[in-house]
Chain length 304, copies 2
C-alpha cells in the first residue's frame, strides 16, 4: 500500500502563550507524512522547498521511510514561510506573515512511481494544483482525500468544487463546512456537501473532536482532553495523516474502516499539540501510540 | 428511590432564528423534573410560583408523577420571568428581561417527606438557598448534585464554595468551570475543582457534549449532531434531570453508573432542543428514548 502526500514543506514561526519558536519546520505535507509514517512505509511525498531547507530535516523525513523523489528543490529560492500568533484560548490565531516564496511556482510533476499510489492525501493548496495532481494519477486509486481552506472558497469556489467532485473524502473544519455549504447546521452542511461528490465528509472541530458523515450516518471521534495544548499548529494535518496512514495500512475503505481511521488520526493529533511543531511526531513509539489509543477507548466507553 | 429537585418553575419568552414563543413555561426545576420523570416516579419538587401560573401546567407536572407538596404558591405574586434572544449560532444569547418576582422571597421549607430523598438535584439558585436546602436534609442522601452560574461566582464566591464543598457532583458549563478554577484547560480546572469537594465534576459544552471528571479519569458524552436545534433553552437542566433521574433509577453511584447517567442526560437534552420550551419533554415514549440511546451508541462506537 502506498500513500501519496502533497502539500507544503515549509518554515513556521509560532507564538503561543507558552513561548515562541522561530523558523521551525512545518507545512501540511510534513505533518501528514510524519503522522502517516507510523502506519505505512510507502509514502510518496510531493512538495517544493527552497535552498534554505536544512539537509538534516530532509534526512529526518527519509529516515521515517518517506520517499522524496517528488520533493522539488529550488536552490535559488526560499521555502514557504508562515508566522502566526495564537490567542490565549488556542482556538484562534492571527497570521502575521505569509511568504509564499518557492510555492508561487509550484507545479508538481509526479514521478512515474507516484502515479499508481493507492491512497492520496491532497493537502491544502490551490485548487489548480490539486486538480493537476489528480489529472496525473493513473486512475487506479482506492481512496482520494483532500483538505482545503476558506481562502480558496473566497477566491476560487468554482474550481474548488471541480476538485471536490473528484475526491472520495473531504476533510475540512466546521467553519469551512459552513462556508462551503451555506448551512450553519453541520448535519445539513454534510447533506449538501455529499451532493458535491465526496461520499465521506470529515469535519474537524479542533479541541471538540471530529465528525464523520457518510450519507446519513454520523460517527464522532472526540479530541483527547489535555492539561496543556502547547502548540496546535499542524494538528489538523497530523489528524489527516494519521487517518489516511491507518486506512492505507488496513486497506479497509468501508465506513467501519473510516471510523477506525478517525480515531487514529485523533490520537496522532493529540501528540502533535504536546510540543512545538513536529517535535513530538519525530520519535513516537508504538507503545505510546497504543497507550493513547487506549485512552481514546476509555474516553467514550460506557455500558447501559 | 426518590429525587429532590429544586430550582425555578417559571415563564420564558424566547426568540430564536426559528421564531418566538411568548411567556411559555420554563424554569430549571421544570426541565429537571420532566426529564427525570422518564426514569423515576418519586420526584419531590421544591419551587415557588405566582398566582399567574396556569393550573393545567401544574396538573401536567402531577400527571408525570411529580410530587408538588413542596411547590409554594404565592397567589399575590407573579412567577419568575426571563426573556432572551438567541444568536444565529444558538450558542450565545442575550438576556432581555429578568423579573425575579416571587423568587425574591423564596425561602424553601422542605416538607418532612422530602428530607430523606436519596438523590438531590439543586438547580441554579442563590448559594444561600442551596445551602438552606442542604441544611434541611436528614443526612441520609446517597448522592447530591448541584448546578450554579457565573453570576454567583461574581457576587458570592465564598458562599458558593461552601455549598460546593458539600455536594458530590458539580454540574456546570465550560466557561463556569474556567471561572471557578481560574484555569483555561478543563483538565486542570477539574483537578482544582475536585479539591473544592465534589468527587465528580460534569462540564457541559453545549453542542460539543459533556465531560465527566473523577479524580484523573475522564469520560466524554457527545451531543447528538442535529439538523435543527430549535430552542436550546433548558437543555442543560434537561441534561441534569435525565442524568440524576437515571442514576436514581439504577442506584448505581459508581463511576460506571455516572457514565451511563451522562449518556441518558445527553439523550434527554437532545429531545429538549427539538421544540420550544418543554413541549418535546411532555410526551416522549420509551421507544423514542430507546431509539435515541441507540443513536448515541452508534455515534461513538468503533472497532480497531
Amino acid at each position: 500500500m502506498s500513500l501519496l502526500t502533497i502539500g507544503t514543506v515549509a518554515f513556521d514561526t509560532i507564538e503561543t502563550p507558552y513561548g515562541k519558536a522561530e523558523k521551525i519546520v512545518g507545512g501540511a505535507c510534513t505533518y501528514i507524512s510524519y503522522a502517516a509514517s507510523y502506519f505505512i512505509d510507502k509514502i510518496n511525498l510531493s512538495a517544493i522547498i527552497g535552498g534554505d531547507f536544512p539537509q538534516e530535516e530532509i534526512d529526518s523525513l527519509k529516515a521515517r521511510g518517506v520517499n522524496l523523489e517528488g520533493l522539488e528543490v529550488d536552490s535559488e529560492g526560499l521555502s514557504f514561510f508562515w508566522e502566526g500568533r495564537y490567542h490565549t484560548n488556542m482556538n484562534s490565531r492571527d497570521t502575521l506573515i505569509t511568504d509564499l516564496n518557492v510555492l508561487q511556482d509550484f507545479n508538481p510533476i509526479l514521478p512515474e512511481s507516484y502515479k499508481s499510489s493507492e491512497y492520496v492525501m491532497l493537502g491544502n493548496l490551490t485548487p489548480d494544483i490539486q486538480m493537476s495532481v489528480l489529472e496525473q494519477l493513473d486512475g487506479t486509486q482506492k481512496l482520494i482525500a483532500m483538505d482545503t481552506m476558506n481562502f480558496w472558497m473566497d477566491i476560487a469556489m468554482p474550481r474548488l468544487k471541480e476538485v471536490i467532485a473528484k475526491v472520495d473524502i473531504l476533510i475540512i473544519n466546521d467553519e469551512e463546512a459552513r462556508q462551503l455549504s451555506g448551512e450553519y447546521s453541520l448535519v445539513k452542511a454534510a447533506a449538501i456537501i455529499h451532493t458535491m461528490g465526496p461520499k465521506y465528509l470529515v469535519i474537524k472541530k479542533g479541541e471538540h473532536g471530529a465528525l464523520l458523515f457518510h450519507h446519513g450516518q454520523i460517527f464522532f471521534a472526540p479530541a483527547l482532553p489535555l492539561a496543556e495544548v502547547f502548540d496546535p499548529t499542524g494538528a489538523g494535518d497530523t489528524f489527516a495523516g494519521g487517518f489516511m496512514g491507518y486506512i492505507a495500512k488496513t486497506g479497509d475503505i468501508s465506513y467501519e474502516g473510516m471510523k477506525a481511521g478517525l480515531i487514529h488520526g485523533s490520537a496522532m493529533a493529540s501528540f502533535c499539540v504536546e510540543e512545538f511543531g513536529i517535535k513530538r511526531l519525530k520519535n513516537l513509539t508504538q507503545q505510546e501510540i497504543d497507550a493513547r489509543l487506549d485512552e481514546f477507548a476509555k474516553l467514550v466507553h460506557y455500558k447501559i
